[in-house]
């Protein structure tokens, strides 16, 4: 008979017994509902023309989705980066390592346990976002795409934090490093691309001024490819690309094409949109981090000479 991951099962028992789990999920859903209601109400009240504008629901949907992404990026490391260190402090890690469970099972169990709350929040918020389907802000298929994007981003953030929890024996260092990696992915990639672009663009602009003839700024294909890959690492860019693909109101593609890619479609040679590339990259990163975590957690990686009968 197939068994549930023992570590996840244990955490599930304690989490389901804990009233705070439900309170946190409930409070989050209520918060999203309240935000949506407030923004809808405000948009109607502040409008000089009486009546409801369906266009506003797209903006509200995008804003609430942004809040959810921020929550994932901020909350997942906070819950996950202490997982393995917590077992160390409780002195239960060795006890798990001498059992028949593989370190992969332990890491996956810990990852699932720590993502449980966030996954519950994401799933519980689907009906709230579903209301926007009713308003016409988003199609059901697009809503599913967004839910998938959030789940994959949460898994990537969780696997980074688990790895930090194994590498750094001190919990505080693990927390700091997890947040640093998330900062690197969400901000620093964009900042690096932005800075390089800025330098190139300014140089180009000055050169053109000297020539007196306007020549459009065109980046070479290799540069475009490199920048796109760098940006595809960034969950925030992936999210903006998803919103752009969904509603067209977030003009990430037009911003990038206008300034960075010279009116070319923001697509890699794979012909996939940025958000989908971001999903695949995050799945890949999660696998690498979980694999590395399992390897590092293994006690006595070289078991030494043992013989059995």
């Amino acid at each position: 008979m197939k068994m549930l991951n023992p570590v996840f099962r244990r955490e599930l028992i304690t989490a389901l017994r804990n009233r705070r789990t439900f309170m946190a999920v409930g409070a989050y859903v209520l918060f999203l509902l309240a935000m949506a209601a407030f923004m809808l109400y405000a948009s109607i009240r502040l409008d000089f023309i009486e009546g409801f504008h369906p266009q506003i629901t797209i903006t509200i949907y995008n804003l609430l989705s942004g809040i959810q992404l921020a929550l994932i990026i901020l909350l997942v490391p906070a819950i996950t980066a202490g997982q393995i260190n917590g077992e160390r402090e409780r002195q239960t890690l060795d006890l798990m390592l001498v059992t028949k469970m593989s370190t992969f099972t332990i890491v996956v169990g810990k990852l699932l346990s720590s993502l449980m709350l966030v996954l519950l929040m994401i799933v519980a918020s689907v009906p709230v976002f579903g209301a926007f389907v009713y308003f016409g802000a988003v199609s059901p298929a697009k809503l599913l795409e967004q839910t998938l994007f959030m789940l994959v981003t949460a898994t990537m953030a969780g696997s980074v934090s688990i790895l930090c929890s194994i590498v750094f024996k001190r919990a505080m260092v693990a927390y700091v490093f997890s947040y640093f990696v998330m900062l690197l992915l969400t901000t620093i990639t964009a900042a690096v691309v932005g800075s390089i672009f800025n330098v190139l663009h300014t140089t180009h602009f000055n050169n053109m001024q000297l020539g007196g003839i306007f020549v459009p700024f065109i980046l070479s294909l290799q540069w475009r490819e490199l920048f796109t890959w760098l940006l595809a690492l960034n969950p925030v860019v992936g999210f903006l690309s998803l919103q752009d693909a969904q509603s067209g109101t977030v003009s990430l593609d037009s911003f990038l094409t206008q300034f960075l890619f010279n009116f070319q479609d923001v697509r890699l040679t794979t012909q996939l949109p940025l958000w989908l590339v971001n999903i695949w990259i995050n799945i890949g990163l999660s696998c690498v981090f979980v694999g590395l975590s399992s390897w590092l957690l293994m006690p006595a990686r070289r078991l030494g000479k043992f013989s059995f009968s």
């Binding site: 060795d94 006890l95 000479k305 043992f306």
Partner: protein, 317 residues
């Protein structure tokens, strides 16, 4: 059966285990004795697969076969020198978790858990939170946990540390019961009288070297330079002393508690002959006994730094 063959563990320049050789027979209780930092826990962690030896071999069961962590986990149950409990779980849930870690089917778990809780006398606590258990109960719960997959070999690191006298007695009783069920038990402790009562064999480890192994009785007999004999006469301690002076070295004979005490280098037949001589000389005897040396004496003698410098394994069989 468990065998350590020339086991070495080095941490950088520090040698924690320096060529340990050990043979532990099946269904025995082996006591690991040694001062703090002697290498007991290191050896135990290597046996359980938590640490890799720098060199040497651990043989579980005797023959040379596969190398796998999974197979090792199946054969060995480990109880470290700390509790390692989840306070937010109930006793039965705690046991159920560890049953899961050994992939015991859901259907068979309840019976296994009930049997083990009964063994460690915690049946009435099965629905209580682990947090609410006393130290002794937590220790017994940990023992039950280490038995959840019915291992052949139990490795117990300081199982009686911090327990009150009643809990210690209970722990000893459980270990004896486990031995009778066919388990091979390796136990480390600082409490020597307890080990001498409980263990079939002991090994004394110091500075990473095994300096003596054997049964408790043999170690006591062989490592004391001579046996000390106590004789209590019916009357006339002086007469007995005078007689013994003709037979033994005078300086060694001391009078105490209405009798005499002296070291005796001969074997049992020599002692019987001496007793016969005394009786033939009209000295009435009430008691002849051999003074019990303590394991502590031997331990102190073997683990002192002067001795450590010249250690070589004393194997007593």
């Amino acid at each position: 059966m468990l065998e350590l063959v020339n086991l070495v563990k080095k941490y950088g320049k520090v040698t924690a285990l320096d060529g340990i050789n050990l043979h532990i027979a099946s269904e025995s209780i082996f006591g690991f004795v040694g001062p703090n930092g002697a290498g007991k826990t290191t050896a135990m962690k290597i046996i359980t697969g938590l640490l890799a030896a720098t060199s040497g071999e651990v043989r579980v069961g005797g023959a040379n076969q596969v190398q796998s962590r999974h197979a090792l986990a199946e054969k060995i149950g480990y109880m470290p020198d700390f509790f390692g409990v989840y306070d937010d779980l109930k006793v039965s849930e705690y046991m159920d978790f560890y049953a899961g870690t050994y992939y015991i089917p859901y259907s068979g778990r309840r019976a296994v858990i009930d049997r083990l809780l009964d063994l460690v006398n915690l049946t009435d606590k099965r629905d209580e939170y682990v947090d609410l258990l006393s130290r002794g109960m937590k220790q017994r719960l940990c023992l039950a946990r280490s038995l959840i997959h019915d291992p052949e070999i139990l490795v117990l690191d300081e199982p009686a540390s911090g327990l009150d006298p009643r809990s210690r007695v209970e722990m000893k009783a459980v270990l004896r019961q486990l031995r009778s069920l066919g388990k091979t038990i390796i136990v480390s402790s600082h409490i020597l009288p307890e080990l001498s009562e409980m263990c079939t064999d002991i090994g004394i480890i110091s500075h990473g070297k095994m300096i003596a192994t054997g049964t408790v009785d043999d170690i006591l007999r062989n490592l004391h330079s001579a046996r000390v004999i106590q004789i209590r006469p019916l009357d006339g301690v002086e007469k007995l002393t005078d007689f013994l002076r003709t037979k033994l070295e005078a300086g060694d004979i001391t009078q105490s508690m209405g009798g005499v005490e002296f070291p005796f280098a001969g074997d049992d037949s020599a002692l019987a002959a001496l007793v016969k001589d005394i009786v033939n000389n009209d000295i009435g005897l009430v008691a002849v006994s051999e003074k019990q040396g303590s394991l502590e004496d031997v331990y102190m003698q073997l683990t002192n730094p002067e001795h450590a410098a010249e250690t070589e394994t004393i194997s007593v069989s």
